[in-house]
Amino acid sequence: MSDIVKFNRRDFLKTGALAGGGLILALCFPGLESAGAARPPRGQFKLNAFIRVGHDGSVTFIVNHSEMGQGVYTSLPMILAEELECDWRKVMVEAAPVDPVYNNPAFGMQGTGGSTSVRMEWQILAKAGATAREMLIAAAAKEWKVTPTTCRAENGRVIHDSGKSLDYGKLAGRAARMPVPKDVQPKSPDKYRLIGKPLHRLDGPAKAGGKAEFGLDVKLPGLLTVVIAHPPVFGGKVKSFNADKARAVPGVKEVVQVPAGVAVAANGFPAARRGRAALEIVWDEGEWARLNTPDIIKEYARMAETPGIIARKEGNPDKAYYGAERRIMAEYCVPYLAHATMEPLNCTVNSDKNGCDIWTGTQSQTSDRNAAARVLGLKPEQVRLHTTFLGGGFGRRANPANDFVSTAAQVAKAVGKPVKVVWSREDDMKAGFFRPLWYSRLMAGLDKNSNLAAWWHTIVGQSILAGTPFAASMVKNGIDETSVEGAQDIPYAIPNILVDLHTTQMGVPVQWWRSVGHSHNAFVVESFLDEVAHEAGKDPFEFRRALLADKPRHRGVLELAAAKAGWSRPLAAGQGRGIAVHESYGSFVANVAEVSVDAKGKVRVHRVVCAIDCGRHVNPDIIRAQMESGIAFGLTAALYGEITLKNGRVEQGNYDDYPLLRISEMPRVEVHVAQNNEHSGGVGEPGVPCIAPAVANAVFAATGVRVRRLPIRGRELQKGSGIA
């Protein structure tokens, strides 16, 4: 990344897209000072927007990315601590308030997503840490009346060449008043003491002790809990309602109509739900009340047979395909998916005419704050957004329509009291903003020598970015980058390629879902490539390897995973092995999966070997954890995940009909992290894309049946049934 973007304080560099960047809107590196500089708490001194040092030597890092499990409350502090040379045991973390200084350079606003945290913040935080360190050294030098070059910083102390030393706590007050040095040099990597080590997570004790505060845990005096009766169909509206019975329910305090539906405010969640159940509402169901999933798929299949907008064209795919020695065609379909975060959506708002406080677990602070300000008729600076821990995010808590925050602000405005708006599990599951349903039609041509000569991929589905602030930079000539990512940039050396796209209009709200376009395109591309390898009579690993001759990082992880898995070693009878490789968010991942399929068609994944090359990295154990996590998340989608619509209604509601992977189904996951000095890639999302195709390819190896629809349907894997 650093050759694309040179770090420059207060410099604003805008660019449309960034290689492997995913959701990259603009790069603007802020400085180290917040605009609305808040006074530090008593006994603490602010060295810059990211660092405070206390009298007692404690160090507080202000982290501008949301902690949703991916480990940023540990990895980002490690970068700061490395440069600050503080005592890691004295580090504390605080969530950043909303301020331009905390903007994500990738987005031009504060937010967490696109697996950007470490790779986008590394230089900024290294500079923040190094600058503060130099200020502490300067303060000590002044105290001792020596030149700063005779002093060094080490483990929370400044040490003079003579051997005398002072604790950071003693220097903090003076250091905060020192001039801010320019052009400080971050450490050279061979001097790192923390970066590269598998340090324990800083949020571990709070989470294991039940003390970590999530949005749903926020307590305020007089706080009412609110649930909302939402329309049964997306786009539906309240025609009329009668709240008499609801108001009579003990504990119910208010019933108000808001744009999202009818809100019931009560003392506690059970009373609010009882009140909601007593509401009598007549709905205008709107135009999508006859939407059914099978009809959507049928329509998409029809569209896939017609030419779409071209996302990529190389050579002459038409001629190469129709002139091929052998032609292979297949259609793939993946469903709508819910994020299903374990903590359901919620947002707490305490507002009056002078200002507003919001507590929520969000991935998009600036945008949510501004949306709340618009609802409440306040200036953005009058809204203080407090980011709590997020009980899972996976993209859902970066809602481009600000759904949960705007709705909560509307409720607060109508009720006039502090409110915590809560989505029940069912509300959350049915709320939409799903990973879109996708249909793909693929065609490949093999020449006389069984070389892959033509590749044709038609993609059909809804645009995630259309209508969002990201559309301006990431929807070009009718192509939403996220619809085709992982498909248009297929890494294999194929002389003739066509990737085209049909963008559909559908009343189902869609949103980025962990790994976004890669979540489906990797499955489709890596499964179909396996079909082609089989048709060419070649080993799936060797076939890929040969086509990746010019892609050393793809090839590196492919070979690493195959070697660690023992690719050519025979498996037990009835087992199959599958492989997949994919690049996303600047990282390269390969998976080898070993599976068996029982007589009922139930797939069991025994072992997954995962290789990742994410370049220079901070905490190898967090990388391993994110690969384990991505694999479990992707496996849930491969085996179970499916949201369906019947008469416009979401048919799933809870974990009984939208199952998640269970502990007994978790495969043994072995993660191998490549060691090199390449640019940093992300880790939160890149673990997801490979597992579905690796498992599907392994199922084929075990049964001879191709999986072209997710989730995998056991019935179709039963012996002799084949697949359409």
Binding site: M68, G69, Q70, G71, H200, R201, D203, G204, P205, A206, K207, A208, G209, G210, K211, A212, E213, F214, L216, D217, K219, T225, P250, N267, G268, F269, P270, A340, T341, M342, E343, P344, F389, L390, G391, G392, G393, F394, S424, R425, D621, A625, E628, S629, G630, I631, A632, F633, L635, T636, N654, Y655, D656, L660, L661, R662, I663, S664, M666, R668
Partner: protein, 154 residues
């Protein structure tokens, strides 16, 4: 008023008797370490100990909890081998389901001090984790069993 004993402390709460214990713990007693995940007893996030057994607090009404010994994550000793093993293995990711996982695991170890993988799967099967921390949960339970076996808390 309904009397409850939670983490060794007596409380009296004024709520409808059919209110799920989960919400009394969270809303009335401020013990928000016990989490709401599904409300139907299918995810395990609300797991607490009732008279030493792991139970889903979303499925038990406050009147049925009356007179019983309730322990929540806040009441499990800080030095409990399961909590320590959770930190050693860096199990938690987002953390929402982890109090329930820990309470379930602690109850398992009380019944089976040296559980097999199959014992762990069967005891932990109903505790869902969207972050997929299962491999580390298994490792942490084995570690806690070893540590407890060395003479720690049982």
């Amino acid at each position: 008023m309904i009397a409850l004993v939670v983490n060794g402390k007596r409380h009296a709460v004024d709520v409808a008797p059919d209110t799920p214990l989960l919400w009394v713990l969270r809303d009335n007693l401020g013990l928000t370490g016990t989490k709401y995940g599904c409300g139907e007893g299918v995810c395990g996030a609300c797991t607490v100990h009732i008279d030493g057994r792991a139970e889903r607090s979303c499925q038990i009404s406050v009147k049925d909890a009356h007179g019983k010994r309730i322990t929540t994550i806040e009441g499990l000793a800080k030095g409990h081998p399961v909590k320590k093993a959770w930190l050693a293995e860096d199990v938690s990711q987002c953390g929402w389901c982890q109090p329930g996982q820990i309470m379930q695991a602690a109850a398992l170890l009380r019944e089976k001090p040296a559980p097999s993988n199959a014992d762990i799967d069967s005891a932990m099967e109903g505790n869902l984790c969207r972050c997929g921390t299962y491999q580390r949960i298994r490792a942490a339970i084995h570690m806690a069993a070893r540590e407890a076996g060395k003479g720690g808390v049982r």
